[in-house]
Symmetry: C2
Subunit: 295 residues, 2 copies
Amino acid sequence: MNLRDLRYLLAVLEHGHFGRAAEACGVSQPTLSVQLRKLEAELGVALLERGARGVAATAACRSLLPHVRAALAEAEAIQAQARRLRDPLSGPFRLGIIPTLAPYLLPRVLAGLRARLPNLEIEPWEDLTDSLLERLRAHDLEACVIATEPDQPDLLSRPLFAEPFLAALPPAHPLAAFPSVAQEELARDILVLAEGHCLRDQALAVCRTAAGQPMRATSLVTLMHLVAAGYGTTLIPALAAAAAREMGLVLKPLATGASRTLRLVWRARSPHRPAAEAVAESIIALTDRAWETSC
Amino acid sequence: MNLRDLRYLLAVLEHGHFGRAAEACGVSQPTLSVQLRKLEAELGVALLERGARGVAATAACRSLLPHVRAALAEAEAIQAQARRLRDPLSGPFRLGIIPTLAPYLLPRVLAGLRARLPNLEIEPWEDLTDSLLERLRAHDLEACVIATEPDQPDLLSRPLFAEPFLAALPPAHPLAAFPSVAQEELARDILVLAEGHCLRDQALAVCRTAAGQPMRATSLVTLMHLVAAGYGTTLIPALAAAAAREMGLVLKPLATGASRTLRLVWRARSPHRPAAEAVAESIIALTDRAWETSC
DNA sequence: TTTTATGATAGAGTTTATCTATCAGAGAGT
DNA sequence: ACTCTCTGATAGATAAACTCTATCATAAAA
């Protein structure tokens, strides 16, 4: 069976006349005759009653018509949807983001992304780096934003921007009196996130220490609450500065100005690369020096 | 676009592998490659992301999939329905019946028709002869039962059976005392149906008179009520005898044994002829001498 | 680096659809 | 009764499409 033949059928019924239906379909009358006879033969059902005054549907044909129309409507829908999707900057786009970034980046950029890429339906997905990359490779995500450089050869990435780290201290902390903090001093009572968070490894690396306080915090917010309660210090990424400050923490730049580089990652062969690039550009534009205004 | 290509698409997505999908479709692998590339070109959208480990749907493709599945499901439905309709004694069958017959014939035969032709969905339609024939020719009915012989050359018919006329009298009527009634005597105070009912013309013809009492009855039931109330006499078809008797009328055979012949009519070119013939046979079998048992 | 797996490509062959030209049948009008 | 006209069916040629086998290109795995 063929969508074309179904269109022929509807045309003949609509016009009640092979010749006019053929004209409407842009083919010759014998074409319709032959194809519709074939359709009847294939289905094993008489669909048309051919009279001298024109053509009419048989009862069987009438009972098939709803399905015929539905099939053609679905085909139409496919083409209409495809027309919309023809713009590479359109359609669903599942974007993974690490948890230490998502709550602080998304509010800043989502509205702007919608404005700049109105046809791209961005669906954010928050998870740890490893899970994100796994999902990305499993085609469960179109791209993701992480703070490390993926080493898998089937993934490509481009840097978005460097996000400075800031020392986060309780107001009463001795280091809070200085304009900046040296990493080694911070290392003494630093609190870090649970394993799997790239920020944990980065904080420890920045402070040149192997382990922080034996606390298990699974979110940056928890970590900041712990610091505010005086359990220790921590390192937070700049985009989280405003949230930290609202919780009463004192933020100080690091003496070395360490930062993490956020990257957008996608599959090397992904046809969504244009969309990914556009998303990257937009995020860069929308967050440019965002932390400077919030420091 | 083509249903076949949509099936190819689903197969490739299901197997995640062109070769295995091709095997499942019973074609060669290059066929799938070529056809799916064409489909992508036609839609202008990348549907597949081809990787060394297999194939995956793009986000665009995923957003099309519901429509793809729906289109194929509708095509399936057409074929399934056609398979059912392949039996000529199946499917919808709109059957017109004249009003002086329908209420008395249908209760006798409908259950039997369902039993004998279980797949034929008979939809009765009650109307006057002229309307029925008009609808029949307009393909709004598959067949109809009337009591006259249609003279249109594009209609065919076959007789079902002869239905005798009976004189219907109020119990107090002088003619009620005799075993049978001569038409001329009945003619004096005969009540007939409104114009358009074939029974009106037949009653007048049987009684060899030009006009009955100036009463306008649009149904046999009304007519029988009038007779029961003593307004006059009438002629009723045998199948209505039981109903008339229940209303207290006295029924007498006519001296000449006049009757009307019921016929099943269908379009000469109708592919529903087998169903019509079967319906005719069934009606004959189911009503054979039905009035004898009710006289 | 070789091997293996996978999809893409080329060219031939086959099937299918379409066209033009013509036919057959039924009404309509004379 | 006899054309004339309208309508769909049919035949044969042509064109388009699909599909095949054989082979290639690429990338991951050994």
